[in-house]
Symmetry: C2
Subunit: 651 residues, 2 copies
């Protein structure tokens, strides 16, 4: 099929259309009644589009049972599929990427565990088991699994509201219970294909939330960076700054500040270099580990800990102990764990899915969001039984993983092995690592979450989105992580409700030299047709907006008639509603149209409909409104309507 | 301006269009960048459309201050406006209508008060003061104000959950407090122009809710109709039927049943006559009063009350005592009263506004919903201070009012005067009125709420609406009024969310002999353009659906390419997205389009946009996506796009 053939075909159309003009019998295509859909088919279609729109069962079609079984196992464990195609040549990239993210994750893990008010080894535990599970069950090739800053903060602040972290055992019980429920939440959402629910947190809200979390996390690090011994338990900026200020005279430790600020400068510099020269991405990736080694050595030889420089002191040696017995399903643990788990699980999902989608789009492979959720859920359920807290995909480490040239989830396995060796062999070496270094590593890690460029873009594109973004941001910074989240969700919903309550309408005019009708505000050159008002309704007509639309159209008609009266022109004889954007209508909408029709009858103005879609047309016929208006008042295009009605107009 | 001139103009277009075909240099109208809207203007527009879309301040424009003041007073008290135009000729209609609705409302009021578990006189009180307030402040000409069945039932069942109606004083305290807050709710909604919130209860949900309420109310009347002394306090059908059944042997009273069933038959017959012959509408209107008179007289002479026929016994004589001191703002009364008041106030509003709108559309006058709410709110606030419970517009009495030829709210004043005389003079005469008569009057009044025809229509038009309708219905019948209401609201919201999460998409083809492109499913005769896939997205692209839309479009592309591969045809070179129905886009939407663009780049398919609206185009430019795609890939119509691109296609 060539382009010329297409052009030929179009020429035929042109000839036909010029011939009909010559005959002066304009060709008007009948709209007619569309083929009726059966109820079952309609329901099946809606159900499929809601839950199975990505057609996950397609490969299973027309296959023998044994093959279907094998495909089913492969669907749950994608490693069986890509593992068979794995080549040694791919391993080089995976090995380098795995080592790089391991060097980045080890110091981060220790710091993030502190954010969650847990002992440092729990961070490392969460980077050992979960990546292995994900490698077997997940389908993203670029995601790097482990504890992340925002979820650690969220978990830490929600948990400490319930139990004082000083009661270590009770705190851990609740943490593992919450992790278990986070996993269950993720699994259930994926299994019942409800993954679309996480889409209700808009991009703008996430940007604001993340930026707020970055500020809050950085503020929390002031404790370590300034060497303070007492610190507020609240996370809002006012409490933190007051706490910092009241401790200024006898709480700060200058040796700690020197170490902290020096290495923070180094880390930020490394980050800057990595950002400006993409090839040097490995500098910020290994800078944290270098900082840890250098500073630990420095403290060890100078014995700075005796001058008040706080150090890590002790990390439990050995891999994850089992923690099944620490998950409690009784009373308080159950309800609190469930609540915290659901929130933390959703946020963790949001982050992981966003990362997965981004990299899948960059490498152009398909990612089934619901399957990912099942994998992440299983990972956290297993994690909660092996002393891990909620793990998910990390923005920063996944980016490093990608840039280091990872090919498959094998890089996660490599990272996991390095973490295993760390836990088994070198944890005692972290004894003299100063807390200030961990604080500066965390600050440099979360700096990137404050995405001011995205904020500027949001401001430029959509002001309402910007309000949602700022709402989430200030909510997190000035109140708490939960309040920020709540504000973000509320504003996102308000936007949806506003959209369905107050849809746009537009008055149309003809674009000169065409028979195309467009919004006269967008195209000032468009010409209104005398005696005819053409209105476009820019939304499905539902109960939530049907009254508004009816009143709005009548007001447009009144305005137009007043205008015509002033210039002594004829009245409006036809009101044409362009229905192209009206994708659906319900009973309230039909009633509104009937009321509109009655009002127009009283003024001797004819109601005309242009281009109603299939669904709408079905319902107009089912409700007999199509007969009320008359089939001869329903046209394929506004152009057809004007062409047919113009000669019939009274002088 | 004549129709011919229009036709002439269109002919010019035709000539131009045929000439350009002859030249074979097709005319393509540039889309260009629309005139930029300032931020303030945009915000002002959104604000106005959300809260002041009906432009209530228009008459105030360009008027001197004194005139504005006068208009303001008139706006609050419309009686000052229509009262000056009132003529004696109008009074005849108002008088007859007023007397008719009075004769209907007096027996109903006494029965409805029982539904609300209050003494009978409170029903009459609520038909005395509220109609007077409404006549002064309301703008509907046809609504009949007073207690109504559904609100009485709702109030009664919610109040008795909190306080046993046997504790008369406490019960009344809470009832008046709830009425006060119902009034406040209505006033606040109107004053802050949040009236659109009641639109979130869809027509279908209301139909189901009302039908359920009709069943529940009728079931409650079995107590009076069967002469039972003990009765369940629950309102669900299972409890009520069990209660009726266990009392069958020594709870039923045959004399009561005879009286009740006889008059119920009479009332339903009268209703049927009124329905079949519109001119005899007065028969069902006065039948209740006749029943009361006849049955009271009958009981009086036979002393049937001594055989167990329950009678009204006592109605307090005299008009409304003040009840300001009975409204409590402390502790439990405050929170419970607020909760009950908000729910009852909203339901009362829904009923009144629906009635007001219906009759305003029938007589073609404008009704400002928000102003109505202020009037209804004031009415209930004053009512709560004068021993009235929540009053609103009654469906059945308003219809009678309309048919009896009312012209203005004066008919409400007439009714109020009759109720005044009743309270002052003839209440003692109701002593021997049997309760069974009140029960049959209520049943015959609520029968009309079970609108099975509307249900059938809803089933025909929209299956999802039908689910909402049935959900509300069964919720009310099998659980409680509140649960039914909750189900109705939840399903209504679910529908909105589904709409914004899973919008429709359609593949377009060219309608033969035109350059119009339409859904190939709706128009099976439409021809697909070879090498080009044209997709229409039927919704604004927002965070809630942006991922779905991106994945859906890619899947349509995959499906199409697989199909082409089978018939060995060329691949898809252009993907045209028809953007007409895309009324808005947010940052998530732009990101989704960018991802789509990148995926298409990888396949060497060009992305083309047709007819983006002003708002969308603004945002595409603000985000630089328009430049990414290229201005030459944005067209006014799909026809233009195909015409321009077809010659460029590779063979």
């Amino acid at each position: 099929m060539t382009g010329n053939r297409v052009a030929d075909e179009l020429d035929v159309v042109s000839v036909v259309s010029s011939r009909r003009h010559a005959d002066s019998t304009p060709y008007v295509h009948k709209v007619g009644v569309p083929p009726k859909q059966s109820l079952f088919k309609e329901f099946k279609f809606t159900f499929k589009e809601t839950f199975f729109h990505d057609d996950p069962l397609r490969p299973f079609k027309d296959q023998p049972t044994s093959k279907q079984l094998w495909l089913g196992i492969q669907a749950v464990f994608p490693i069986l599929e890509w593992g068979r195609r794995y080549k040694l040549s791919m391993f080089k990239g995976d090995l380098i990427a795995g080592l790089t993210i391991a060097s980045l994750c080890i110091p981060q893990d220790i710091g993030y565990a502190k954010l969650a008010n847990m002992d440092p080894q729990f961070g490392l535990y969460s980077s050992f088991i979960p990546p292995l599970i994900y490698a077997v069950m997940g389908s993203s090739r670029d995601i790097a699994i482990g504890p992340v800053a925002v979820v650690s903060l969220l978990l830490g602040s929600m948990l400490q509201e319930e139990i004082d972290p000083k009661n270590k055992h009770e705190y851990q019980h609740l943490a593992f219970t919450a992790t278990f429920f986070a996993g269950i939440t993720q699994f259930v959402l994926g299994f019942f294909r409800l993954g679309f629910l996480i889409d209700f947190l808009s991009h703008a809200a996430i940007v604001g939330f993340m930026a707020g979390a970055a500020i809050t996390i950085s503020l929390q690090q002031l404790k370590g960076l300034l060497g303070m011994k007492t610190f507020t338990k609240k996370s809002d900026i006012v409490s933190v700054m007051r706490s910092v200020w009241t401790n200024v005279h006898h709480g700060w430790n200058w040796q700690t500040i020197v170490i902290g600020v020096a290495f923070l400068t180094f880390l930020l510099l490394a980050k800057y270099i990595g950002k400006t020269k993409k090839k040097l991405f490995w500098i910020p990736a290994i800078a944290p580990l270098i900082s840890v080694i250098v500073s630990t050595f420095f403290v060890f030889i100078t014995h700075a800990e005796k001058n008040g420089v706080q150090i890590v002191n002790h990390i439990e040696r050995g891999i994850n102990p089992p923690s099944v017995s620490e998950i409690h399903f009784t009373g308080n643990y159950m309800t609190k764990g469930l609540r915290i788990g659901v929130v933390a699980g959703m946020i963790a999902l949001t982050e992981a899915i966003a990362i997965g989608r981004t990299f899948a789009a960059m490498k152009d492979y398909h990612l089934d969001g619901n399957k990912e959720m099942v994998a992440l859920g299983t990972m956290n359920i297993v994690g909660s039984m092996t002393s891990c807290y909620v793990a998910t995909g990390s923005f920063s480490r996944s980016a490093v993983n990608y840039m280091a040239g990872c090919n498959t989830a094998v890089s996660n396995i490599v990272m996991s092995c390095v973490v295993f060796l760390t836990l088994e062999v070198i944890t005692p070496l972290f004894k003299y690592t100063p807390n200030a270094i961990l604080a500066s590593i965390i600050i440099s890690a979360v700096v990137g979450l404050f995405d001011y460029q995205a904020m500027i873009l949001i401001w430029k594109i959509d002001k309402f989105d910007f309000v949602a973004c700022m709402g989430a941001f200030f909510g997190v910074v000035f109140a708490s992580v939960e309040i920020g989240l709540l504000i973000a969700v509320a504003i996102s919903f308000a936007k949806i409700l506003l959209q369905v309550t107050r849809p746009r309408t537009a008055v149309l005019g003809r674009i000169p030299r065409t028979t195309v009708y467009r919004n006269v505000q967008q195209f000032p050159e468009a010409i209104k047709v005398p005696g005819v008002l053409i209105v476009r309704v820019d939304s499905a007509i539902y109960f939530s907006n049907s009254n508004y639309i009816r009143e709005r159209i009548l007001r447009l008609l009144n305005d137009e008639e007043e205008l015509l009266k002033e210039i002594n022109d004829a009245r409006i004889q036809y009101l044409i509603i362009e229905m192209s954007p009206v994708t659906d209508i319900d009973t309230s909408g039909i009633h509104a149209l009937e009321d509109l029709y009655k009002s127009l009858q009283k003024r001797d103005t004819q109601l005309v409909l242009a281009n109603p879609g299939q669904v709408v047309l079905d319902k107009l016929h089912a409700s007999d409104f199509a007969n009320m208006v008359g089939d001869d008042k329903i046209f394929l295009t506004v152009g057809d309507a004007v062409m047919t009605l113009a000669p019939k107009m009274e002088p």
